[in-house]
C-alpha cells in the first residue's frame, strides 16, 4: 500500500506544497484555507497507484495537522475533499478517531462517499456496521470490487442479509447484481 513517505517522495518537487506544509506546521489552522484549494494550488495530475496530485497533497496536509483539523476538513469539505479525507484515513496517525467520518459517509446517498468509506480504514468498523455498509453498496449499485478485504470479512450474517436481499429482488422481478450473486455463491460454498 502507498505510504505517506511514498507521497512525500513523489511530491518533493512541488515547491508550493512544501512551503504550505511548513506553514501548517507553524500554524495548524491554516489548513482550513489550504485544504479546499489543493487542486488549484498544487495541481490535479494523476500520480502512481491511483492517487492524483491534489489527493496526495491533501493527505500530506492532514498528516501534518492535529486530529481536530482532520475532522474539520471532513466536516466542512465538499465531496472531493471528503473523498480525499477518507482516502487518507488509513495513512494518518489518528487511531479510531476517524471512525465517525466513515459512519457519516455511510449515511449519505452519494455513491462515491459510500464506496470510499469501505477502504482499508473500514477494518475499524464494527461488524454490524460493516455488513450494513456492504449491503448498502449492493443496494445502491456500488461495485463490491472496491470493498477492502471483502472475501475475508464476508461472514454468515452477511450471507443471510444478501440472501434475503436477493429473494426480495427476485420476488419483484428485478435483477440481483452479479457481484452480490457471486459473493453469495462463494459464501454458500464456504
Amino acid at each position: 500500500m502507498t505510504t505517506l513517505d511514498d507521497l512525500r517522495t513523489t511530491l518533493a518537487g512541488n515547491e508550493r506544497l512544501t512551503e504550505d506544509l511548513d506553514r501548517v506546521r507553524e500554524k495548524p489552522e491554516a489548513v482550513g484555507g489550504l485544504f479546499p484549494a489543493a487542486g488549484r494550488r498544487y495541481g490535479r495530475e494523476p500520480l502512481t497507484d491511483g492517487w492524483t496530485t491534489d489527493e496526495a497533497a491533501r493527505a500530506l496536509l492532514l498528516a501534518g495537522s492535529p486530529t481536530e483539523e482532520v475532522l474539520n476538513a471532513y466536516r466542512y469539505g465538499d465531496t472531493a475533499e471528503k473523498l480525499a479525507v477518507l482516502k487518507a484515513l488509513p495513512l494518518l496517525p489518528i487511531g479510531d478517531d476517524g471512525v465517525p467520518l466513515l459512519e457519516d459517509a455511510l449515511r449519505t446517498n452519494d455513491t462515491r462517499l459510500v464506496a470510499a468509506a469501505l477502504g482499508p480504514y473500514a477494518d475499524r468498523l464494527e461488524p454490524d456496521a460493516w455488513r450494513q455498509a456492504v449491503l448498502k453498496c449492493v443496494f445502491m449499485g456500488v461495485p463490491l470490487a472496491g470493498v477492502h478485504r471483502l472475501h475475508e470479512r464476508a461472514d454468515a450474517p452477511l450471507k443471510d442479509m444478501l440472501r434475503a436481499f436477493a429473494a426480495e429482488r427476485e420476488a419483484a422481478g428485478r435483477e440481483v447484481p452479479l457481484d452480490a450473486r457471486n459473493l453469495l455463491d462463494e459464501t454458500q460454498e464456504a
Binding site: G32, G33, G39, R40, D78, T79, K82, T108, D110
Partner: protein
C-alpha cells in the same frame, strides 16, 4: 440550444425539474445561497445548507448531465438576525471551495444597518478570495435599493465588471448599465420579468453583460423560463449567436472570472471560452 441558468435554487426543485431542464438544453446551473421560506435560527442551519449546495446538489444534478456550481453568502434578510450573523466567520471555509464561483446572494432586503454591514463585509470577502459577487436587489423600494447597492459596490473597490446586480427590470436597468456591472434578470411566471418584457429590454439595451435566469425556488416559479426567453428572442428575430451569447456565453464569462468554473465534463457545449476548454484556474 444550450442553456446556462446563472441563478436557480435547485435544492427546492424536484428530479422531474432536472429531467425537464436537461431535455430542454439546460447544461449548467449556478445555485446561489439564499433564504429558505422558513427563517433559520443559527449558523449550523446555514452550514448544513452550504454543504448541501456544494455536495448533495451537484451530485443530484450530475445524474441528469447538468453541471452545478454554487455561490456562498449570508443573505441580506437573515443578516438582520443576530443569531445567524456568526455564520460570517465560517464563510472563508466555503469561499475556498472549487465549486464556489462567486460570493452571493448579498445586497439589500430592507436596507437596515445590519444589512449595510453584512453587504460591505462580504464584498471585502469577494476581494480577498478573488471571487465575483452576485448582488440581490430588493423587491420593495427597488430604485432606491439599486442606487444604494451601486454606492456600496463602488465604495468597496471591487471592479464593477466582477459584480452582477440581479432582479433588474425596466426601472433599474439603465442605472446598473451605466455603472458597468453585469445585468441580471429573473424571469418569473407573474412577477419580476416575463420572456417578452426581457426581449424588449434586450432590444433597447443590447445583449452585452446581460444574464437571464429563472431564479426558480420554492415559490411560484418555472425552471424553464430561461428556455422560453431564448425562444422569445428567436421569435423576435435575434440570431442564434445572440441567443447563445445571452443564455450561455455571458454567464460563462461572468462566472469564469472566479477561475473555478469547470465545464470540462459538460456535453454538447460545442465551443470554448477564451481559447480554454477547461475554465478553472491553472489550466
Amino acid at each position: 440550444m444550450r442553456i446556462f441558468d446563472p441563478h436557480i435554487h435547485m435544492t427546492s426543485r424536484t428530479t422531474d425539474d432536472y429531467q425537464r431542464m436537461a431535455d430542454s438544453g439546460v447544461r449548467a446551473v449556478v445555485e446561489p445561497a439564499f433564504w429558505l421560506g422558513q427563517p433559520r435560527t443559527g449558523p449550523g442551519s446555514f452550514t448544513d445548507y452550504f454543504d448541501s449546495i456544494i455536495g448533495w446538489e451537484p451530485f443530484r444534478a450530475s445524474q441528469f448531465g447538468i453541471r452545478h456550481h454554487a455561490t456562498i453568502a449570508l443573505n441580506p434578510k437573515e443578516a438582520n438576525d443576530p443569531r445567524c450573523r456568526p455564520v460570517l466567520d465560517l464563510l472563508p471555509r466555503y469561499l475556498a471551495k472549487d465549486g464556489v464561483v462567486a460570493v452571493g446572494e448579498i445586497g439589500y432586503d430592507s436596507m437596515t444597518p445590519a444589512e449595510d454591514e453584512a453587504f460591505a463585509a462580504q464584498l471585502a470577502l469577494a476581494l480577498d478570495h478573488e471571487l465575483p459577487a452576485l448582488v440581490h436587489t430588493p423587491h420593495r423600494d427597488k430604485a432606491r435599493g439599486l442606487q444604494r447597492s451601486l454606492d456600496v459596490v463602488k465604495e468597496s473597490g471591487i471592479d464593477p465588471g466582477r459584480v452582477a446586480l440581479d432582479h433588474l427590470n425596466e426601472v433599474t436597468v439603465a442605472a446598473a448599465k451605466d455603472a458597468g456591472v453585469w445585468l441580471g434578470f429573473s424571469i418569473y411566471p407573474d412577477t419580476k420579468m416575463s420572456p417578452d418584457r426581457m426581449v424588449a429590454i434586450l432590444r433597447e439595451y443590447g445583449p452585452e453583460r446581460v444574464l437571464v435566469n429563472s431564479a426558480a425556488d420554492w415559490g411560484k416559479s418555472d425552471p424553464l423560463l430561461t428556455v422560453r426567453t431564448a425562444e422569445a428572442m428567436a421569435k423576435d428575430g435575434f440570431s442564434e449567436d445572440d441567443v447563445d451569447r445571452v443564455l450561455w456565453r455571458n454567464p460563462v464569462e461572468f462566472y469564469a472570472q472566479s477561475g473555478r468554473l469547470d465545464l470540462s465534463d459538460v456535453t454538447d457545449t460545442g465551443a470554448t471560452f477564451a481559447g480554454n476548454s477547461i475554465l478553472r484556474g491553472g489550466s
